[in-house]
Amino acid sequence: MTTTEPRIMPMGMAINEAMDVALGLDEKVFLLGEDIAEPSGGVYKITKGLSTKYGTERVRKTPISEAAIIGAAVGAAIAGYKPVAEIMIMDFIGVCLDQITNHAAKIRYMSGGQTTVPMVIRTSAGAGRGFGAQHSELLEAFAVHSPGMKVVIPSNPADAKGLLISSIFDADPVLFVEPMLMYWDPAYAGEVPAGDYRVPLGKANTVVEGKDVSLISYGRQVHTCKQAAEALAAEGISAEVIDLRSIVPCDEAAVMASVTKTKRAVVVHEAVTRCGFGAELSSRIHEELFGTLAAPVQRVGGKNIPIPYASNLEKAFLPQVGDVVAAVKRTNK
């Protein structure tokens, strides 16, 4: 590939490139996780080639021991390293929740700032692959509810690279959630800048500009919102699509500016609706903009059920374009 050609790649390759860049920039960066070294390079091939390039000390396979993986990352981070720990699938987070919420998140505060935990927990998540209830769920809400944790969920390859490099060099622990369905699907491929490309945390991206309603989302559901915006445009409704990129920190200024303009908002995410981040954001919008809103903020999320296996049921769990369009219509009555 020459430098003049656009660098189009799937998200999985962009994430690999981010880790490659970080490993090359700083010898304190290392990766640990189940199966991440060669020959497999991870069950989703996201770390393909990295152990060959940087060695199995810095790209190290672990036992299937999530608490030990996160604990080792916490200790090494306090001692000056920048670990990137992989939890293969987000549903496995429960096994190491104590290490995340009680330790990674709280240690800076509990120590009065004497010790810090600059680490990243990469994990893959998302329904739509027939993996059933324990290999499909978005669980970001727990981390948003754990002061001390940052939470990033990218929606495209360039952001995935730029946000991951920023997360690795961030001073605090970051839960980095990778939408599993987007890893290698060419439909989600995009142009990715070369080299040390960084996207700051806490800076939302206005993906589509509009004036009638704000669709606020993150991760793969940004694409659902974009499709909804196209469908709404055909009906003469101009929807603005905001990609939050990170939900801690959350770019509330961008959200409030958009909703001040449109006076209507729909918050969209894949995690179950009940007590999801949408509930928090919807509440914040009401608190700030109640008097100026034309209609109550609407939420669209996963159904409040364990994720079903059968493909028709699994599809029904997921937010659909039609759900977003219907939610917009509810703000227009």
């Binding site: 290392f30 036992p63 999530e66 200790g75 090494a76 009680n102 330790h103 009065g112 700032g113």
Partner: protein, 330 residues
Amino acid sequence: MATTNRPDAPDRDALLRMFEIQQKIKTADERFRAMLTSGQVQLIYYSPRGQECISAGYAVHLRPDDYVVTIYRGLHDHIAKGVPMRELWAEFLGRGTGTCKGKGGPMHVTHPASGLMVTTGIVGAGIPIANGFGLAAQLSGTDQVTVVNFGDGASNIGAFHEGLNMAAVWKLPVIFVCQNNLYGEHTPMAMSTGVEYISERAASYGMPGVTVNGNDPVAMWKVAGEAVARARAGEGPTLIEARTYRFWGHLMGDAMEYMPKEERKAAMAADPLPAFRAWLLENGHANESQLAEIEDKIKALVDDAVDFAMNSPEPPMDELYTDVYEEIIK
């Protein structure tokens, strides 16, 4: 402790350092308990009294740049690793001058300058984190070692299993010190643990395991020294089960109905610290005036720390939102 001299004992310097650490722990503990029972202070307090030999026994082998991880019953480990008494007291009393600016408290004392890296309130959780310190030392090519302390109860939680296995697989320079005080909270070990000796579990991880009388300072010193030397040499981890007894139950105010009165009475009668003191005198390792001088010095140290902490202000309110993240995120 045996009244005869011991050919395996360390030199006088190490013996007196161990005595000094133990005396500091005892003096600080007695003052905390006195201030609690008199109502001068209110705090959640887990007395380490009875277990001080263990901390002294490993601490004399450590350098300032070695790491220690401990638990909510951690005062003895904090003192042994050299956390300054003033800041330690201030932290226990929730003052802005504490090690953690009063934001951590007794269950989260941290003082990296002394190598006291983590104090956790979660049973077993320090074990996987200690591996991270060991891994950092291994990756950096230093010969720093990490001592992680936990109780007998922690050997029944998943983090123990995951952590010891990983340490063995990676040959990490970590010493796992199980301070077996025979009770996990209110439940005797026999009712919660399927082996007679926790050190037996080491075999299943492929690492050396040893049970030692944690109330015998010389034996504890020897076992800890071997484990530290092994770790420094890159030969991997060791599980030490140090048998001991906690004199004051799980936490202060505990009615201790679950501890047989006779058992506790016998343990307190065999208090390891006075026994160690007598042994030092009988075997010519020190004379009375030397030990009295150490004791007086420590009394003054603790008096000073109490004054410092009691006269220190609470943390300023502008500390509320700091140290959550590098920047303030509300």
